[in-house]
């Protein structure tokens, strides 16, 4: 039993490191940090050579102009970008594409994941069937859908015509919607798997408790599934926006950016400027602007996502 003489002494106040000053590391911690850097070095070298140097080079090139990209242009390429109607059109088309593919990826991916999570017979085959398009190259997918959708030579119109239905010419009349649909056909399997992983991380006890409280299926989906999938939804939306803004193969293979400039995706526009027009300076400036847009979108999405993340 503690006596007054043995009364516990107040602990010595711990001196915390002052704000702005780093705590002094122990020799062991320093050694561990050195070891960590040694292991990280190959990756850092790889990223420095293949990511950061090209980015620095593109920043440099974006301030040059001329056929040989050797005349200093200062910020002219950037100011031109804001006045260029073709660049503005490409950006508008790309935004439409990115928004549509992102919303589509979330709705279809989540919907299919919920369906497939019902432990139905044959769900593995269903998962595989949905995932195969994602494993296929955009070149193959693009050519396949081009051949299917060609208004005159395509298989789809042959079938529609043989069955007496009106034929389509979506490649000409709705080129952006067509490449959005092809992209979703290709990527939905992947987003479904991500949502499925998220769904399987939600404990059954929530649903059991909700059932006891009398919640129906729709209420369970709205109040439990959707909120608890917020981190997955955030991840899917961030990745879908990034890949949507960077999309290239769809325009290159399926529509060639046309008709006219109707499906001129931004990266395809950059490609055309660089390799057809040999305007590497301007193409580099547009690449830098795209990078900034993507980073800005990502930060906004993360901020919104963090606010909506739920706790139980």
């Amino acid at each position: 039993m503690a006596t007054s003489a043995e009364a516990p002494q107040r602990p010595e106040p711990v001196e915390l490191p002052k704000r702005g000053k780093r705590a002094k590391r122990s020799p062991i911690a320093r050694r561990q940090a050195r070891t960590a850097y040694v292991f990280l070095a190959p990756a850092l070298v790889f990223f420095a050579i293949f990511f950061y140097y090209p980015i620095a080079d593109i920043l440099n090139t974006s301030m040059l102009t001329g056929q040989r990209t050797d005349e200093f242009a200062g910020m002219d390429n950037y100011t031109n970008a804001f006045e260029d109607p073709q660049a503005r059109n490409a950006f508008k088309v790309t935004l439409q594409f990115a928004v549509a593919t992102t919303v589509g990826a979330i709705v279809l991916g989540m919907g299919l994941a919920v369906l497939i999570n019902q432990k139905l017979r044959g769900s593995l085959a269903f998962k595989l069937a949905l995932l195969v398009p994602y494993l296929t190259s955009i070149a193959v997918v693009g050519l396949m859908w081009r051949n299917i959708l060609d208004p005159e030579l395509g298989i789809l119109n042959r079938i529609l015509s043989d069955t007496g239905l009106p034929t389509q010419e979506w490649l000409n009349t709705h080129p952006v919607a067509t490449i959005v649909a092809v992209t979703l056909w290709m990527t939905t399997g992947y987003t479904m798997i991500l949502f499925l992983a998220g769904l399987q991380g939600i404990p059954d006890v929530y649903y059991e408790a909700a059932k006891v409280d009398g919640a129906n299926r729709w209420q369970q989906f709205r109040r439990i599934t959707v909120p608890l999938l917020t981190p997955t939804t955030l991840f899917v939306s961030v990745m879908a926006v990034i890949t949507g803004l960077q999309a290239f193969g769809q325009a290159y293979i399926i529509t060639r950016g046309g008709p006219g400039e109707a499906s001129d995706l931004f990266v395809f526009h950059i490609y055309e400027l660089a390799f057809r027009s040999r305007n590497f300076g301007y193409a580099s400036a547009l690449s830098v602007l795209l990078l900034l847009v993507i980073v800005a979108f990502t930060l906004v999405q993360l901020r919104i996502g963090r606010k909506r993340e739920v706790q139980y």
């Binding site: 981190p231 993507i294 706790q311």
Partner: protein, 454 residues
Amino acid sequence: MNERVSDERVTNRMHGERSTRMSARPAINGQWMTRRRMLGVAGGAAAALPLAACGSGAPEAESGGGGGGGTFLAYWNNAHEYEAYKDVVAQFEKDHGVTVELQKFQWEDLRTKLVSDFQSGNVPDVVEEPGSWVQEFALSEDALSLQKYIDKDGAKIGFPDDWLDVAVSDNTHEGQVYGIQMHYTCTLLFYNRKMLDEAGIEPPATWDDFLAAAQELSSGDVSGTVLNDNLSYSYPWMLQNGVHEYDADSGELLQPRAAAMEAMQFQRDLVHRHKVSPKPTTSLDVTRAAKFFAAERTAMILTGPWDIPIIKESNPDLEYGIAPALKGKRQATVAGGTTLFVPAKAKSPDLSWDFIKRITALKTETAATEESSMLMPRKSWAKESAVQENPDVKPFTEGLPYAEEFRTGIYTTGKAGELEDIYKTLYESMLIEGADAEEAFAAYDDAAKNILKG
């Protein structure tokens, strides 16, 4: 706060333990991904594609055979690997002790690869190009002047006297020759002999005849004509109305403007008003019209000898005829064909020149024509019996004298690629989308102004 929550902890929490944030965050290597990590992944991915788009398409190969071993690298069109050239290549390899690697591309991919090579400085030894790049690359100092070789060997190989004048001038920049024309072709009217005979129609000679024939021959699954997806197939119509893409004297585009609008409107009307041609589509496939023709789903197309192998392979029994180019305000057609040139940074230009001489020798040209019906730029070639007696080739030898370039001089703007892009937009907006000529040309002018000021 720890964002990783095991099922056990969640279960405990449900039984009254303090709340921990629940997360179904995606995982990498068994670790839940934090926001910062996620942003890192996202940022890395963001940077990757625009940069990756600047990559090249084909596998790299060691370049620059200098004789006595090594690889001699040639970029070639994927449709032009004729047996006649294979024999020449075999002899070249034997004589110089090198291995010739012909890397084959479609034109668009070849350009992407080549422009990447120019940027990197790692270039091939010789390049076949589609007939409009040599002057552009001469202007940008990426092509090597062949003048010193021509001064030395020209008389021996018959250059320039034995080449058609336009085949020389199209490869000349500031008085120096930068490329040697390898093929020289033009576009003429192909027609289905049986369909025209059955309808009692003579091959059309004028635009009006063409429209009347197309209307007469359109029925059911068969369309009177098929306008090609590729914008270059609109050039003959423009030339027949006296229009060129660029007027070097005034610096103006698509002049005379009224004639340009009329020519484009005529093509638009074939599709949208008279409905004698299906709408073109946006694709890389320039053989679409030939496929319709071979399948006997159209009676007439405008094309060149490059489509003859496709037509014959697809439908060997098809009886077709080749008529002279149509007359609008005048009779004209577009000259085309490919040129061989040497990149300025090629490692062994002497070897490259020897390769060009062999490929463009009269004997090689004649053998290639016998094999493929391809047309060649030498005047003496046209007199060869193999050419005179070939029914697929003879009409073209008669068409070449009035064939001309549509894009003459446009390379001097330094904006040939960008101007071609806006012409493509003009072509597609009118022929595919059915845009009004006034509106489409106004948009073209706005875009051109923006390009030329830059």
